[in-house]
């Protein structure tokens, strides 16, 4: 083997060993982890299934920390900062080593903590505790819990009573008297002494009291069940009311969304007897609108003429620029084609501008006690002018607002002197 080849083999071997993932299982479960600070061994973490800690303090600054197996395999580590803290968690299969390094003016310190993987029983206990916690969180509401407690208490009382009765019966069966037939029992009663009769009477009394207790327990259980039913009924009615509220809110929202359309339909829905229409006011309003329309038509025509002039100038300018910049004739042609397309787009913009130039009309009512001066001042502030009045509603004309109409009306409603604002009367 030549030297070059030998060297190449060695290089490949080195690269291969670094490409392989570290085999942590080689550490086994009980072998300590060697801890190195500044490439000097300072101790080991003897952690098998228990937590282990190693603390190192020195006058020298800590530069590097390394964790190695007993066979020298580098498991992990960190490069410490010149000053301050740095932490790192080195994961070794299921186990973990937490490193914390601090460098100060006085020196460096290292804390290494080996945290073993939780055992099977530990994991089982954790799962059970989690389950119990979740169950506790899902406990019923207070009212239901009260009912449940009542029922549980009643059942416990009933169980005690039943056990008492059973015990009493068993005692009676065990006694020799119980074996005697009923026909014989009467004879026996006749022949029995007064003391025995008294004892029997006492037992009967006890039995009666026990029966009374059982009856009371049953009654209290019934009461508990009634209470539970009532609570459930209340809960279900609350649920229904919440559901109906949700439906109402949805309907209200839908109504609001459809608001403008309904408002437009409203004049047709107003019954004729609702108010007297002032004919003169309508006529004045119609005249005012017609005059405004004429004025706006003239303005639109002027703007369109101006736009045409500007478009022609722009086209000429773009053609000049394209010719000056583009050396390639094909690109010039393409640009000219693009120029030719642009006039098709411009009218769209023009029409948008023309619709925006139309005045914006809306109706407002003012708060009670608002003076005419305040109203005029407000209208002037809006750079608009007042239109007709109808049933306490004032028509106002302004330049188109920069925000959507609904939002604009919301803004208007927020003003102090405005009581209500609408798009249509």
């Amino acid at each position: 083997m030549g030297q070059e080849e030998d060297l190449e083999v060695y290089r490949s071997q080195r690269l291969e060993s670094m490409s392989e993932r570290p085999n942590y299982s080689a550490r086994g479960l009980v072998d300590p982890i060697q801890v190195y600070v500044n490439e000097r061994r300072v101790g080991e973490l003897k952690g098998a299934e228990t937590e282990a800690t190693l603390s190192v303090h020195g006058v020298d600054h800590i530069e590097t920390v390394q964790l190695r197996t007993e066979d020298g395999q580098l498991l992990g580590g960190l490069v410490a900062p010149e000053s301050g803290f740095r932490t790192n968690r080195v994961q070794l299969l299921a186990d973990t080593v937490e490193l914390c390094v601090q460098n100060t003016m006085q020196g460096g310190s290292l804390s290494a903590v080996f945290i073993p993987a939780p055992s099977f029983w530990s994991r089982t206990r954790t799962i059970l505790v989690d389950f119990a916690d979740r169950w506790m969180v899902r406990r019923p509401e207070a009212a239901v819990a009260y009912g449940m407690r009542t029922v549980a208490f009643t059942q416990a009382l009933l169980a005690v009573a039943v056990v008492g009765l059973v015990a009493d019966r068993v005692m009676i069966w065990i006694t020799p008297e119980h074996a005697v037939a009923p026909t014989v029992q009467a004879e026996a009663l006749r022949t029995a002494s007064i003391a025995e009769i008294e004892q029997l009477a006492k037992q009967l009394g006890e039995l009666r009291s026990m029966q009374t207790k059982v009856g009371e327990a049953l009654q209290s259980q019934e009461k508990g069940m009634t209470l539970l039913h009532q609570t459930m009924a209340r809960l279900s009615s609350t649920q229904e009311s919440v559901a109906s509220s949700v439906v109402m809110v949805k309907e209200e929202m839908e109504k609001r969304q459809e608001g403008p359309e309904h408002e437009a339909d409203r004049p047709t829905q107003i019954p004729p007897g609702r108010g007297v229409v002032d004919q003169e006011q309508f006529e004045v309003a119609i005249h005012g609108l017609a005059a405004d329309n004429d004025r706006l038509s003239k303005q639109i025509a002027g703007l369109e003429e101006h736009n045409r002039t500007l478009t022609a100038k722009l086209q000429m300018a773009l053609t000049h620029v394209a010719k000056a910049v583009e050396q390639n004739s094909e690109r010039v042609v393409a640009r000219e084609a693009e120029m030719a397309r642009k006039p098709q787009l411009l009218p769209v913009a023009d029409s948008r501008q023309s619709t925006q130039a139309q005045p914006f009309l809306f109706w407002v009512t003012f708060s009670e006690g608002t003076s005419q001066e305040s109203i005029d001042q407000w209208v002037n502030g809006m750079k608009g002018h007042k239109g007709v009045q109808n049933e306490g509603w004032q028509e106002v004309q302004i330049l188109p607002p920069p925000v959507p109409p609904d939002l604009f009306l919301e803004q208007i409603r927020g003003e102090k002197i405005i009581k209500e604002a609408r798009l249509n009367h």
């Binding site: 083997m1 030297q3 030998d6 060297l7 060695y10 290089r11 071997q13 080195r14 690269l15 060993s17 670094m18 490409s19 080689a26 072998d31 060697q34 190195y36 490439e39 000097r40 061994r41 300072v42 530069e63 590097t64 390394q66 190695r68 197996t69 007993e70 066979d71 020298g72 580098l74 498991l75 992990g76 580590g77 960190l78 490069v79 740095r86 790192n88």
Partner: protein
Amino acid sequence: MADRTATVSRLEEVVATSDEFDRVVAQALPVLLDRAAGYTKRFLRETGQWNDDIEHEKFALRWGSEYLERFLVCGRTEVPCRPLFLFDSLVAKQHSKPEPFCYHPDLLKPLGRFLDGLVARAVVSRDALIALYHHSYGWGAGDVITVTGLNGLESQRIYKNFRRWRESGWQRTMDEMGLTKTELTELEDQRQRHRQRFNSEAERLIRVAQGHYRKSEPDHYPCLSRSQWGEMFSQGYGCDYRIWHLALCVDCMQAAWGLGSGGSSAGEKPRLELQVRP
């Protein structure tokens, strides 16, 4: 060549997470290894320690891979970073130390490389450290336990260290040092044919290596006199001290000879009897 340039460019970019660091660096291992070897070569040239031969090339590659291994583990904690610049700074930091590596012309020959590899590995591997007793004096696990005066619990670990060394540690160390089967066979032959000369040469070289690598021990593990060793052995403390220092110091081993067995088996002081195989 274009791939190499692209890889270097990628290494110059910022990596934000540890996973990204692993991914980028894993794709650039050959580039980084050659870079580190190049830096080591330049350092040796500048310090007048370079020769154009395969031994020096292997030496540069060995230390390059050593730096790269540390970079792979520690660099991922430095994110966000530019991996190439971080790697350069790590190598520069190593080369700015007084004696960054153990260099001696005789340690580049097969016997020197063998000893250098054993002692260098002993610094980072307890398996290699314990095995050093075997390779230096021919002792088994029981002998090591007796000589160092260990208790029962520590004894179990010694057996385990020996087993792991035989199974994988020795071969890995030989691979790291670039010792071929032919070279190892030649060493074995020399040991058998010229035993005394071989061992005296080995003792001379192992002292050089031990002197350098003992600096890797904790500061509180200096050489001791026989009486001090005696006190430590008799009172039963300094278990780690005994294991680590005696393996890495021929003189202290001779000074402390017999103290582990209470002086009962103290015969002739141990001499170096180099073992090539585990």
